[in-house]
């Protein structure tokens, strides 16, 4: 019980409160927002971005970042379609595994440059953002396949994307499973705690004998696999793919992670917070049209939420520093 309270006392609780407020106001305007179908849609929309946010959290905790997630997601989504063009009856599981493998490979490429070549992640992934997208366009123009539609994919694959168990969409179940596993590993495994240590103080991590390079590399690979999975799920859910799937997603993901309370300079934050952040931003996006706000404001709202979250974090840090200073001053007096 005390653990639950501790869990909800931090950022997670404030997001839940914000979420309730957004849902409340929107439902007052249009009651169908909170219908069974409405909730179903909310979770469905948030699932893919939540997967990306879980992967991104692993990296941000270690003081790294991956800006190439949108491009990697687009690449794996596009590959899923290409696999069906090659063989219309490709088993779904094979497509999923291939997507995750490609995502992991992209993550390994980023991770190697960051962990082994010691290039800052911001620069590496900004570069691969364009490189991976370029490969995607190159692939599309070389094969002449610019768009892949639902009728070109197998029924099983499409059913997997749109199906649900006990009213909960498959996508949401997968995102939840990823959330539980990641949260468990970050909380209970030595390697999970070491990710926090690396982000909290790299110098101390080195002195504590933590294999920082290996851990960061692994985080990139795991995050890449999750992004690959998200790309495949995107393909199976929407049933229409072109070479620009996922463009601009990286910023929405970083916004979700930061809004979810993961410190952008590493060392603290939870995957639960990041997923709640993703849910909050998606909910706001869905609520805007109902509240009569044109859809093109969506990006601006993401940005505003990001700025608000960062300002809040900063204000809290300054207050904490001030308090510690005053405490010391009292103790001396």
């Amino acid at each position: 019980m005390s653990r639950l309270r501790a869990l909800l006392s931090g950022r997670e609780l404030s997001i839940v409160v914000a979420l309730v407020a957004v849902v409340g106001v929107t439902t007052a305007t249009n009651p169908s927002f909170l219908s069974a179908q409405g909730i179903h849609d909310l979770f469905l929309n948030a699932s893919i971005i939540a997967l990306l946010a879980i992967g991104q959290t692993l990296l941000v905790i270690t003081r790294n970042i991956d800006l190439s997630v949108g491009s990697v997601m687009g690449l794996t989504a596009y590959m899923s379609g290409q696999m069906f063009i090659a063989d219309h009856d490709t088993p779904t599981i094979l497509v999923v595994l291939a997507g995750m493998a490609l995502g992991a490979a992209c993550g390994a490429f980023n991770g190697a440059l960051v962990a082994i070549a010691k290039v800052p992640a911001l620069v590496v992934t900004l570069g691969t953002l364009y490189v991976f997208r370029g490969i995607n366009y190159g692939w599309a123009s070389a094969t002449g396949v610019h768009q892949i539609n639902a009728d070109q994919m197998s029924q099983g694959f499409l059913a997997f994307g749109s199906g649900s168990i006990l009213g909960i969409p498959h996508l949401t179940l997968i995102a939840l499973a990823a959330l539980v596993i990641a949260a468990y590993a970050l909380h209970n495994w030595r390697s999970g705690r070491e990710l926090y240590a690396i982000g909290s103080n790299p110098q101390a991590a080195r002195l504590a004998g933590i294999p920082a390079g290996k851990r960061v590399f692994t985080a990139f690979v795991v995050s890449g696999a999750l992004v690959g999975l998200a790309g495949v799920l995107h393909a199976s859910y929407f049933g229409t793919i072109n070479a620009s799937v996922g463009t601009g997603r990286e910023l929405a993901v970083v916004a979700a992670v930061v809004v979810g309370g993961v410190a952008i300079f590493g060392g603290s934050g939870t995957v639960l917070g990041a997923v709640l952040g993703a849910l909050l931003l998606t909910t706001i996006t869905s609520a805007l049209p109902i509240l009569g706000v044109p859809a093109f404001w969506q990006r601006a709202v993401d940005g505003a939420a990001l700025l608000l979250a960062i300002s809040l974090d900063r204000a809290v840090m300054v207050r904490l520093a001030e308090r510690l200073r005053k405490e010391r001053s009292l103790r001396r007096a």
Partner: protein, 505 residues
């Protein structure tokens, strides 16, 4: 457990170890043996190579030649982790921790107790941490976040780390530099307990009385070379100092008598909540005023506020009779204050830039007629000061990073002297530079004062303060606790005030 005899194979031994960093030879032929049950002092001035020895034992650096022996067997620690696995623990002067994580996690990072399924056993971890803190006689809540703990508590965490790792060789690198007398005594008690249980301790301190109080033997280093290893009982204070310094005190501190003139810098009632309060003092023309105190007593913070890089809550600063606005370093420079910061590599120099560029940074207006920087003027300025300070360099266009520590410090000094200040504030001007360069810096400060400059000297090295200053101000926990004339200032009187025993000035 009975204390083992001080004989037999040493737990850890360095034999004829040599280590260079680029052009700088940090260690030449250093030998050192740490025996089970002993506390061994490592003595030497700043820059003598003590920290390099610590880093080699801790696995952060590898020797270029010579051997490290563990239980008589040659070993090569390729990383801090390897050294830790073999039972070595290093406690740094300013402990490096994970501020976001809990105390228990800091203690157990990398060796958390596990439950089946590789799951961290948090309950066992907290229980064990509590036990260790109890054993050390220091109650720290294992569940609290590490951010905001005092340096003394952070050191206890470091020692707890060593204990849970079953370390047999424990290196303490200037652990008392930031501690109060009570905290230091608590640390000594813990250290003696560790030695009694069969660990070998290497203790580094710049305070000789502490070495005599705690240690069994001492090894002295000078300029990276091994000088002597002696039993503490067999070496008296004066001999120890002579071994460390290698020359007489008069040679080391060429202090000239000067005509002391009017007050140039007057600081009145300077206060910043929680950092320092009610700081009042003045520096006169031709005078060197020493500012002494333990690390963390607020000395650097005070001068940073005087110069205007940091804010202050209240108080006034006057230079040559004119009040100085707060938080305006540019105005401070214009009115004649120069601050040579503590960390020259971080705050004093732009290491990638050339020597001449660095030298002109504080005088860009002077070398930039019409807003464009002229290289010829820049070079002229750098050459003038380079000659005056007998700077040793390849070419003025070489990056500052290529210079030795002493020469880097001269560039920083030159940069500020080029602003023709009437008040020169120097923060730890000789930290980490060799004896030769140190003597030159001391001679320069002495000359500047003789020419009428007002000099405020901050130093953690007592001999430097005592040797150079006309007057000594001592700070303790953010207050000035003593003001001593050159005759009154002795190692004892300064330390007495620095640990909070002085009457308020």
């Amino acid at each position: 457990m009975a204390a083992p005899e001080h004989t037999g194979v040493p737990l850890l031994e360095l034999r004829d170890v040599t280590k260079s960093f680029q052009a700088v030879r940090a260690l030449r032929g250093v030998s050192l043996a740490l025996r089970a049950g002993e506390v061994h002092a490592l003595a030497g001035e700043n820059g003598a190579g003590k920290s390099t020895v610590v880093r080699i034992i801790g696995g952060e650096h590898q020797p270029d030649s010579g051997e490290v022996l563990l239980d008589g067997e040659p070993v090569r620690f390729s990383s801090p982790r390897e050294a830790q696995q073999r039972g070595v623990a290093v406690i740094h002067q300013e402990p490096i921790q994970f501020p976001d994580l809990s105390v228990a996690e800091n203690v157990f990072m990398g060796r958390q107790p596990l439950r089946p399924g590789r799951r961290i056993d948090r309950r066992a971890m907290h229980r064990r941490a509590s036990e260790v803190f109890e054993q050390l006689g220091v109650p720290i809540d294992p569940a609290r976040q590490t951010r905001g703990l005092s340096i003394a508590d952070q050191q206890i965490i470091e020692i707890a780390k060593a204990l849970v790792a079953d370390a047999r060789i424990i290196v303490m690198d200037e652990p008392t530099a930031a501690l109060s007398a009570v905290e230091a005594e608590r640390l000594f008690r813990v250290a003696r307990g560790l030695a009694e249980r069969g660990a070998a301790l290497l203790f580094i301190s710049h305070r000789l009385d502490e070495m005599y109080a705690l240690c069994d033997r001492v090894t002295v280093l000078r300029d990276g070379s091994f000088v002597v290893t002696e039993r503490m009982d067999d070496i008296d204070n004066d001999t120890l100092v002579r071994r460390m310094v290698g020359r007489s005190v008069e040679q080391l501190f060429p202090k000239r008598d000067t005509e002391v003139g009017d007050e140039v810098l007057v600081v009145d009632g300077l206060t910043r909540a929680g950092v320092y309060r009610d700081i009042s003092f003045s520096v006169r023309r031709g005078e060197i005023v020493g500012l002494a105190g333990l690390v963390g007593s607020g000395r650097s913070e005070v001068v940073r506020a005087v110069f205007g890089v940091d804010d202050r809550d209240s108080g006034t600063v006057t230079v040559n009779g004119k009040p100085l606005p707060k938080s305006k370093p540019r105005t401070a420079i214009e009115q004649g204050i120069a601050l040579v910061p503590e960390d020259r590599r971080e705050q004093g120099l732009v290491l990638e830039l050339s020597i001449e560029r660095n030298a002109s940074l504080a005088r860009l207006k002077q070398v930039s007629p019409g807003g464009l920087t002229r290289q010829s003027r820049e070079r002229e300025l750098a050459r003038t000061w380079g000659e005056r300070l007998s700077l040793k360099f390849g070419s003025l266009s070489d990056p500052a990073a290529t210079l030795s520590g002493g020469n880097q410090q001269k560039v920083v000094l030159g940069k500020w002297l080029a602003t023709e200040p009437s008040v020169l504030i120097v923060d730890e001007p000789t930290r980490g530079i060799d004896i030769g360069a140190k003597v030159e810096v001391h001679a320069l400060l002495s000359d500047l004062a003789a020419e009428g400059m007002a000099v405020l000297l901050i130093s953690s090295e007592l001999p430097e303060v005592l040797g150079m200053a006309d007057r000594v101000l001592v700070m303790h926990e953010g207050r000035i606790t003593a003001e001593l004339s050159r005759d009154e200032a002795t190692e004892e009187s300064v330390m007495y005030a620095a640990t909070g025993n002085g009457s308020a000035a």
